[in-house]
Subunit: 215 residues, 2 copies
Amino acid sequence: MARKTSDSTVRRLSRYLRRLRKLDAQDRKVVSSRELAETTGTTAAQVRKDLSHFGSFGKRGQGYSVGDLRVHLEEILGLDHRWTVAVLGIGKIGSALLGYGYFTERGFDIAAAFDSDPSKIGSELGGVRIQPLNALEEAFREHRISIAIIATPVEAAQDAASRAVSAGARAILNFAPIKLSLPEGVALREMDVTLELEGLCYLVTEASTPADGPE
Amino acid sequence: MARKTSDSTVRRLSRYLRRLRKLDAQDRKVVSSRELAETTGTTAAQVRKDLSHFGSFGKRGQGYSVGDLRVHLEEILGLDHRWTVAVLGIGKIGSALLGYGYFTERGFDIAAAFDSDPSKIGSELGGVRIQPLNALEEAFREHRISIAIIATPVEAAQDAASRAVSAGARAILNFAPIKLSLPEGVALREMDVTLELEGLCYLVTEASTPADGPE
DNA sequence: CCATGTGAATTGCTTCACAGCA
DNA sequence: TGCTGTGAAGCAATTCACATGG
C-alpha cells in the first residue's frame, strides 16, 4: 500500500473528482475513461492508468459508476471528511479567500484568520474574525487546524509559515513569491500569479518568434 | 532556434529570474548554480541544464554574472518589455487582482476590467474602471491586450475566454474551476486554489496513513 | 583549483496495444 | 462487442560525472 504518487497524478485525480461531482449532480450513473479524459484535458489511457494505481473501480465493457468512483476518489484524496484551514495575512488575497464562499461546499472550513496590523484585528470578514498573530498557537490547537494558507507580504511569509508549522500545521499553501523552507514532512504547494503570467509571456513570445520553421 | 521547452523548465526559469532580481537589488555581482538552486528549490545540475538550452551564460570557475543572466532570462521569457492584461469578472478574485499593486513592478499593466453586473460598471478599482462586456472588443484592440485573466463564476468562464480570444487574446490565465477549450495556439495556465488544497489533503492523509512501512 | 557545460545513465511518466471480462 | 486494466515500449526529464577552460 505504500504508494509513490506523483504530483501531476494527484492534480489529475482532483480534476476527475471535480468532474464526477458535476456528473453526479446531474444524475449521471456511468462514465467512461474517454469521457472523463476529454472533459478534464487528458487521455483515456492516462485516466485508466491513474485509477489503476489505487484499484479496479470500473466494469469492463461498461465504464465507471459515477457515484462509486466519486466516493473512491474522495477517500484516496482524503476528502471523505472536512478540513479546517487558517489564513495568515489578510491583505488583498487573504480577504478574497475569506470571502470566497466556494470553499465550504468543497469541504474546507476557514476557522481562523490572522494579521499583524492592529487596525484589522477584531473586524470580521466572511464570518471569520481577524485575530492577532499571538493568538495563533491557541487557535490552531483549539480548531485542530492542519492547513495554513500564507497570504502575507513576502517579507513576513517565512516567519508566518514556520510559526504555523510549530503550531501544528501539516501543510502550507503559499501565495507569497518566495521559496519557503519547511521541515521534512510538511506538505507545500505554491500559488504565484506572476509566475503563471510569466509562463504565458514565454509561450506567447515563443509562438510569435520567427524561429526557423518546424524541425 | 526552434525550442521545445517544457512547462516545468519555464517555471524554474521564472524562479531563477525572481531570485536574480533580488540579488541584483542587493548589488550582488556573481552567483553560482549551486546558490541559485538552493534558493529556488532545485539542484545545481538542473540550473545548469536549464540555462544550457538557451546558451552559455556563465564563466567556468566563477559562476554567473547576476546582471547579465537576469537580462538573458528576461529576454528568453519575453519580459524585456511590458505586458498589458485584462481581467474578466470582478468578484472576490478579480477585485483582489486589481488591487494587487505588485503586478506593475513585475512588468504587467492591467489596462481593462470587465463585469456583467450593471451595479459594478463604472466604478473604479485600483485605478481601473470596470466596463461592460460589450466594451471588450474595442478595449482589447485599443490597448493591444494579449493576456486575459478569467475570474468569472464558473458558468461564465468559457464564454468569457472565447470572447477574449476572438478579441485578440493570445493567452489565458484561468481562475475558474473548469477545463477551458481554446483554439490551438492560445496559451493557457490555470490557478485553482481548491485543487491545490486538495493536493495538500492527499499528502497529509498519505503521510498519516499507517501503510506498511518503507518498501 | 573551481564551477560551468554537456554527453551518458538513470529515473519517471505517458502512450501503446492487447488480454480479460461484463 | 465495448471498455477496462496493465505489462511493455517509448519518451521526457532529471541526475551523474567529468572534460573544459577561466
